[in-house]
């Protein structure tokens, strides 16, 4: 009997929900969710008795299709469904064909894309956009989203509910042929970038959760790239950036599951397939005149990826890329990373000067890696007491056990006070 993939339901959720929403219309999103939930329950009931079928995905799709047929037949007088369907759901002449069409692979891709664009509605705050994407397109539960963002479950539920209400109040999903496509595309890219970062740098202690966030961001970006008008050089740069960073994920924790700094990372554990995919995407992102912040960040990742060790890294190139990034999209975190690169190029003293010169460094007061960087550089130039002080600060604002243990280890390497 085939094993049931742990994430089967979650990975099918986004695809099947997109198909159902195509039929029922986005104003019936709640109905679509109920129908899908119900289809999953029915499938499970059968599987419990008869075992998991050869192709569970196909089974789930067939169940969802049948449920959709039932619901349309039962409710077509009482409800209006998707306006795109016109009157063709009203008749048996075309009902089955429309439902088959909605579940065709190509339609599902398009509808997921429209859903993604709809979730990035300009009236929704960024964190609500991310929660919606995770809930609707990735099948994450409110509990899982809360654990990824270190937010209370009730707050996430509220956020999702509000977002879904806004979605349901629009007549149709975002039209990919709309004049505002380019502008919305840039919002979508930003949301996917944040989603990836939440996985890569985020606060959640569970590395499994974070790897999944990165994987979902990669999957949705790939979906974006499959749609030619969305596959611009900037989108390719974003995809390159994600691949190159994701390639480093396996090495970010050591064999004991503890956080590992770039210095200590075993580069042989970087994912070769993702690296080469990232490099290929980066090359494609160079087509045309566009240079976005994603291009610069991907460029930095390329320099890291092409170095055999930390010492052989072209730090001058990295600093100059950070300089351009500071011009284009200045932020205290970018400034922090730039300062670390300067320290690698010119030594700890220069790095410290840069760190203290960060204009809005008070915005980093809750970010443990700022005091940690100060500590690292103080330690490097031999100022142990000062280094200790900074690592203690880092320890105080650490966001999870993994970070705490990491800073404790750094603190121990400063030696004792005496």
């Amino acid at each position: 009997m085939p094993e049931l993939n742990e994430h089967l339901f979650r990975s099918e959720w986004g695809r099947l929900l997109a198909a159902l929403t195509r039929i029922f219309g986005v104003h019936n999103l709640a109905l679509a969710e109920d129908v899908l939930q119900d289809a999953f329950c029915r499938a499970l009931e059968v599987w419990k008795v008869r075992g998991v079928p050869e192709n569970p995905s196909a089974w789930l799709m067939a169940t969802a299709k049948n449920r959709a047929l039932d619901v349309v037949r039962r409710e077509r007088k009482a409800r209006t469904f998707a306006p795109e369907m016109g009157r063709l759901l009203e008749t048996e002449w075309t009902l089955a064909a429309l439902i088959d069409e909605a579940f065709a692979a190509e339609t599902i891709s398009d509808e997921q894309l429209r859903m993604m664009f709809s979730c990035c509605h300009p009236r929704l705050p960024e964190e609500a956009q991310l929660a919606l994407i995770l809930s609707i397109l990735c099948g994450f539960s409110a509990k899982e989203i809360a654990s990824a963002f270190l937010t209370g479950r009730a707050a996430i539920e509220k956020r999702i509910l509000r977002g879904k209400k806004l979605l349901a109040s629009s007549k149709t999903l975002f039209d990919l042929g709309d004049a505002g496509f380019a502008q919305r595309l840039s919002t979508v890219r930003h949301a996917l970038y944040l989603l990836f970062n939440e996985g890569y740098h985020g606060a959640s202690a569970k590395s499994a959760v974070r790897v999944e966030l990165c994987a979902e961001a990669l999957r949705l970006t790939a979906l974006l790239r499959k749609h030619p008008p969305a596959a611009t050089p900037t989108t390719n740069a974003l995809a390159a950036l994600m691949c190159l960073h994701a390639a480093r994920l396996p090495a970010r924790t050591d064999s004991a599951g503890e956080l590992s700094a770039l210095v200590d990372q075993d580069r042989s554990r970087w994912d070769a397939r993702l690296l080469s995919e990232g490099l290929a995407l980066f090359e494609r992102s160079a087509a045309g005149e566009e240079v976005s912040a994603y291009h610069l960040e991907a460029g930095i990742a390329v320099v890291h990826a092409s170095a055999r060790s930390l010492d052989e890294t072209d730090w001058a190139a990295i600093v100059s890329l950070y300089d351009r990034l500071m011009d284009m999209a200045p932020s205290p975190v970018v400034a922090l990373n730039r300062a670390i690169a300067v320290a690698q190029r010119d030594g700890a003293e220069r790095g410290l000067e840069e760190l203290y010169a960060i204009a809005d460094r008070d915005r980093l007061s809750d970010y443990p890696f700022y005091p940690a960087a100060l500590g690292e550089l103080e330690l490097r130039r031999g100022h142990r007491p000062s280094a200790r002080k900074h690592f203690q600060t880092a320890l105080r604002v650490a966001r999870n056990g993994m970070e705490r243990r990491f800073f404790e280890r750094r603190l121990r390497s400063c030696g004792s006070d005496a």
Partner: protein, 138 residues
């Protein structure tokens, strides 16, 4: 604009040919959908009608004799109907030429809704007339 009923007729063997195996049925459904969608998009589909099952009973004459099956003559089975809105009978006939059922040897009977009867009904009872026009079939 006037309304026309399209009555689709085909034989059972033609229908089998049309929907014979899953692959064939899938294709047939797709061409049928494309044709209906075309009518809908151009505003010709007044009422999407329904297909009719192959079985049924026939009640005949004063004796109200009930026999099985729609017809003995299976070569002339009414497969279903839709109501189309067109300028005139000529346009309605022209539109019917696109019907995929013709490819399988079926026929489309194009019949104007009788405006005289409709007008009379409307005068008598607007609600009933609206129903008669097929605007909202029960």
């Amino acid at each position: 604009m006037s309304e026309f009923v399209y009555l689709f007729r085909s034989s059972e063997s033609q229908q089998r040919e049309f929907m014979g195996n899953p692959e064939r049925a899938q294709q047939s459904m797709q061409v049928w959908l494309a044709w209906m969608r075309g009518l809908e998009e151009k505003g010709h589909l007044k009422n999407p009608g329904q297909p009719l099952g192959h079985t049924g009973k026939v009640v005949r004459g004063k004796e109200k004799a009930v026999t099985d099956g729609p017809y003995i003559e299976v070569k002339d089975l009414v497969a279903g109907f839709i109501i189309v809105e067109a300028r005139d009978l000529a346009q309605a006939a022209e539109l019917a030429k696109g019907c995929p059922m013709l490819e399988g040897g079926g026929t489309v009977e194009v019949r104007p809704v009788d405006e005289a009867v409709l007008g009379l009904n409307r005068k008598l009872d607007p609600e009933r007339a609206a129903r008669w026009r097929g605007a909202r079939p029960e």
